[in-house]
Amino acid sequence: MGIIEKAVNWGRIKSPWILHFNTGACNACDIEILAALTPRYDLERFGVQLKGTPRHADVLICSGPVTGQVACRLKRVYEQMPEPKFVVVVGTCACSGGVFDGCYNVKSGIDAVIPVSAYIPGCPASPMAIIDGVAKLLGSLEAKEAKQ
């Protein structure tokens, strides 16, 4: 691995930029994601920063079971992110449909539409769980880099 690639990888792991997209969630996971970014839990100490556009994001954080209308938008948002990209799903309904499983307008899980790197279950997932999930994802990336 070249020195530039190494530097880029180091930057990516030490400061992943995230994009939050609500794919039909009830808002509970979304306020917990925001709570994880505010002073009590402070996800920013891992270098995590919330961004406004998919083009700046390394990690897409999704919540919600994917409704019929939002599915094509989710795909588009995912496509617009630069490589390498990771998807973290937050909440039981984003993992598997949860309480909305079987509803006529629901796709039952983000992985029915785009590939997923990490699942964080919970209804809603607590900020601690979200931090744990993100830290585990970063840890797995670090391990992968060490192997190469």
């Binding site: 609500n22 505010t38 307008n105 809603p124």
Partner: protein, 410 residues
């Protein structure tokens, strides 16, 4: 000057939820405002018909995660009315305590989001830090930070112990102190006053005509509060004021919400002081007799209405929800008339919109398309990929992964 149409959303930095707006501009001025709902439509009303009453409590709670207790209480009030259940007073008091704690968390959340929308991120961080106090209290009483699951048909599932009551009172003291500080910011900080005054004006008559509810209506001096007009749970026995304001703008809505926070602290102290003894639940039948009822509830964002029709089985025949945002969103186009584009985020945020509440039964015709509406979504999609490829940007690798995955699924 020619018109420019700007689509905003469903993914946009200023919006926390997937919703889509279409703004027609002349220069910086907003001429027309249209919204398109349905991105959050999960089909909850239909799903209610396939689930039992007990399951529906948890489902209605997940209509919205911010005012979850509002929806489940509203639903349950209608069910209890049909079944003719006499809910114990202690249960009603506990429901009201959770309801007011929820209002506190929701208004603090709003204060932070409003601060964020006007570029005052310090306020956002401050109020969200203080919000953790009430989140902890909710976790102590109900076992969960959000989506409390405390309601059950005929009462509540958990009791409030004297130790918990002490903890709540301690929390109220901290929050009251902090809210006084926010009230000071709202009434004395020049930048806040200048930024919010005269923005998003909704006159008294318009508020009534457009059917605004909750703090949005009360900031236009409409004395409309279900807790006073049609007392439910323990509100009939409480001493509190309905906060109204005559500013008619976003500034007024801030004052109303901060004022309501102070009233909520007062109410919780009264509730804990007069908490009656006795059981917390009565035995409820699994099958609810045929009948219909309407539940009314003052959610943090305004009046929430649930209609329930029972047919004698253990599942409802029809459930209909009218969430407060649906009543308030009509007023937004009035508020935006002739305002600048830069005011749009804070005006929308000022009604404290909750689209996951609202998007349930909106019939949407998909008219998403190109310039003359001749381009279908798929065409537009291919076009945009081609556009990027022409400019040397290839999403191919990602797309291959995606299509390989899709093939595998099929």
């Amino acid at each position: 000057m020619h018109k420019v149409i700007i689509p905003i959303g469903p993914q946009h930095p200023a919006l926390k939820e997937p919703e889509s707006f279409r703004v027609v501009l002349s220069g910086e001025k907003i001429l027309e405002f249209g919204y398109r709902l349905g991105y959050n439509h999960r089909g909850i009303e239909k799903a209610c018909e396939a689930r039992t009453y007990i399951q529906n409590i948890y489902l209605t709670e997940r209509i919205c995660g911010i005012c979850s207790h509002s929806h489940s209480s509203c639903f349950i009030q209608a069910v209890e009315e049909i079944a003719g259940l006499q809910v114990p007073r202690r249960a009603l008091y506990i429901r009201t305590i959770v309801a007011e704690l929820e209002r506190i968390h929701s208004h603090l959340l709003w204060l932070g989001v409003a601060g964020h929308e006007i570029g005052f991120d310090t306020l956002f961080m401050y109020s969200w830090r203080d919000r953790e106090v009430v989140m902890d209290l909710l976790a102590v009483i109900t076992g969960n930070r959000v989506n409390y699951g405390i309601n059950t048909v005929g009462g509540v599932r958990r009791d409030v112990t004297p130790e918990q009551a002490k903890e709540i009172l301690k929390g109220m003291d901290i929050l009251e102190d902090r809210t006084k500080y926010y009230a000071e910011i709202a009434t004395q900080e020049t930048t806040v006053i200048k930024r919010l005054s005269g923005v998003g004006i909704l006159s008294h008559d318009d508020a009534i005509r457009l059917g605004a509810v909750g703090p949005t209506a009360r900031a236009s001096d409409v004395r409309r509060d279900t807790r006073k007009d049609d007392p439910y749970a323990a509100y009939g026995e409480l001493d509190f004021k309905v906060i109204t304001d005559t500013h008619n703008d976003v500034y007024g809505r801030t004052i109303v919400r901060v004022g309501e926070l102070m009233e909520s602290y007062k109410m919780i102290r009264q509730l804990l002081k007069n908490l009656p003894d006795g059981p917390i639940t009565v035995k409820a039948p699994r099958r609810i007799p045929a009948g219909e009822a309407i539940g009314r509830y003052e959610a943090p964002r305004g009046e929430d209405v649930h209609y329930v029709k029972a047919n004698g089985t253990d599942k409802p025949e029809r459930v209909k929800v009218r969430a407060p945002t649906l009543a308030n969103i009509q007023a937004v186009s009035k508020m935006l008339e002739n305002r600048l584009l830069a005011d749009l985020p804070i005006i929308i945020a000022a009604i404290d919109p909750c689209f996951s509440c609202t998007d349930r039964l909106t019939a949407i015709k998909d008219v998403e398309g190109g310039a003359q509406g001749t381009m279908e979504w798929e065409d537009l999609h291919t076009y945009s990929i081609r556009w990027y490829r022409d400019r040397g940007i290839e999403f191919g690798a990602a797309n291959k992964k995606l299509s390989a995955m899709m093939e595998g699924k099929k």
